[in-house]
Amino acid sequence: MSPAEPIVVVRGLRRVFDVSPPWLSRLIDREPRRLLKAVDGLDFTIVRGETLGLVGESGSGKSTLARMAVGLLNPSAGQVLIEGVDLAATGDRSARRAVRRRMQMIFQDPFASLNPRWRVGEIIAEPIRAFGLANGQAAAERVGELLNLVGLHPADARKFPHAFSGGQRQRIAIARAIASSPDFIVCDEPTSALDVSIQAQILNLMRDLQDRLGLTYLLITHNLAVVRFMATRVGVMYLGRLVEIGDTDALFLRPRHPYTRMLIDAVPDLSMSGRPRTPIGGEPPNPIDPPPGCPFHPRCPRAVDVCRTETPAFVDAVACHLAHGDPGWLARG
């Protein structure tokens, strides 16, 4: 087997938003600057052909990360390298243009991600035309193929998005995402706005396309069950940092960070098997005013003194003082 090559490398990624009151108010009211650390030091890689799932709640920074991963937002520090090319660096424009072709994004809201005034065929053909891949009749044929591939009909190209249901629109969005034959697709909550039975169709479609076209996914979601189905590796984000990352099976069977355990326990037990669950506490904190030390310590049932003062380093794929050097600690009482 050839060594797995990383397609995406994220190094020391940081993104800070300035949410200070306007300059004049600050002057008059003597208010301090306020900085929101949306992403505070992320390091991970994504290997070709895998699906990395990133889970987190509000304030975790996952949406900011998604935008940075496709170059829609520039980092404040650190890098995102797609196939070795840094999107935020000024410089080789043609290299950046070439890399743009290799990546795409599927958005959460199927009603907002398609231009309501454009016909479906034009929407799907846009990346094809923008990258100069085909024109005129050839482009139209490719659009027809893509529509078939996602389970719609080539004649649908003449219609407008409002003629379609949410699930169908998400299929159109997927067709647009694969139109330029990318290697890497960032999926930002792709099924959160869809009904359960439609979600199943779309997730199956995404996995089938991944097998068929050799795609690599970065799947961002708050839904652990979706990540269980889709991802080969899972990373858990809290307040802009990765707190744990690992193979899906291992992470779900033996979580090492208390927050991961909390998220798993929060998923309702449909089979009503009566599995033991630790109670949940507190709410996701405000990223403008994070707690000192480990950001999770106010909610952590196992917090000790060091947790309140020192931020745990991300070592051995987990950021927890108590987990370091003791992989099975959480499973014990």
């Binding site: 439609i198 199943a200 708050h222 839904n223 652990l224 269980r228 998220l263 998923v267 506490g281 996701p284």
Partner: protein, 331 residues
Amino acid sequence: MTGALLSVRDLEVEFATRNGPLVALDRVSFEIAPGEVLGVVGESGAGKSLTGLAIIGLLDPPGRIAGGEIRLDGARIDNLPPARMREIRGRRIGIIFQDPLTSLNPLLRIGDQLSETILAHTSLTRRQARERAIAWLGEVGIPSPEKRIDGYPHEFSGGMRQRVVIALALCAEPALVIADEPTTALDVSVQAQIIAVLKNLTRRHGAAVMLITHDMGVIAETADRVAVMYAGRIVEIGEVGQVARKPLHPYAQGLMAAIPTLEARVDRLAQIPGAMPRLSAIPRGCAFAPRCPNAFGRCVERPPLLAVGARRAACWLYEEQQEPVLAEVPP
């Protein structure tokens, strides 16, 4: 029948359009016993929110109740004048909506909103109402309630706001609470907390709950019985554990099979082909027949809710037999 707190019989709701009336709820019937939690689950367009709105009399035109009866404690409430309905709302039926931002008036303090509601439905003095409000805030788990009672909604987080909304719904001690997607707008770790608050409080105060949501997980945690809705009809109703683990109706079976779980990684999620029909295109007979793997000749006629033991399913497969029929789901 007797003893039911809420009884809905053959409820029909339609919308007047240019091309004729559209039937949105087609003879929906169910009951809620006092203190019971009934979950109403369905996908978007199934009509579950509409059912809640019809019960509390908040159907906006062009929608209207076109038939059937709604009885609260034996007395009809679907044909009451708006003034009477307003009295019932709050005093006898509490309401929790999905978005706490719009349920709470952003210009009023939390304490004022609670006190107003308490005063409107009881005969306490202002002072007593305020103390009662503080007590309620404590019950729903807001820390330091005597300090936070004078806060404005925007000073609370999403989960805290929804707790306030629960307090608002329960402070007049209604017999029934209708909760429409109470946790959908909240973070995952907060959802579990809010569900626990809702469940404990309603149990403690003896209120029944009609819990409307698309999230079967929430219902599995909270409800005693569940009604599954599809295209404006109830297709299955029964005790929640049985419906969740061994659903009878092919749609319920497909729905449960399609939900991803934390169990070991599978290659494929079971999916139901097609999509729920639009209101203007509901097929004659059984609404689910075009998508059903077990459809047969009888399905051109709409099945009523047939009894299968203690449960009921609207499916001709159960006309004779009383055992669950397994759907042909790909392995």
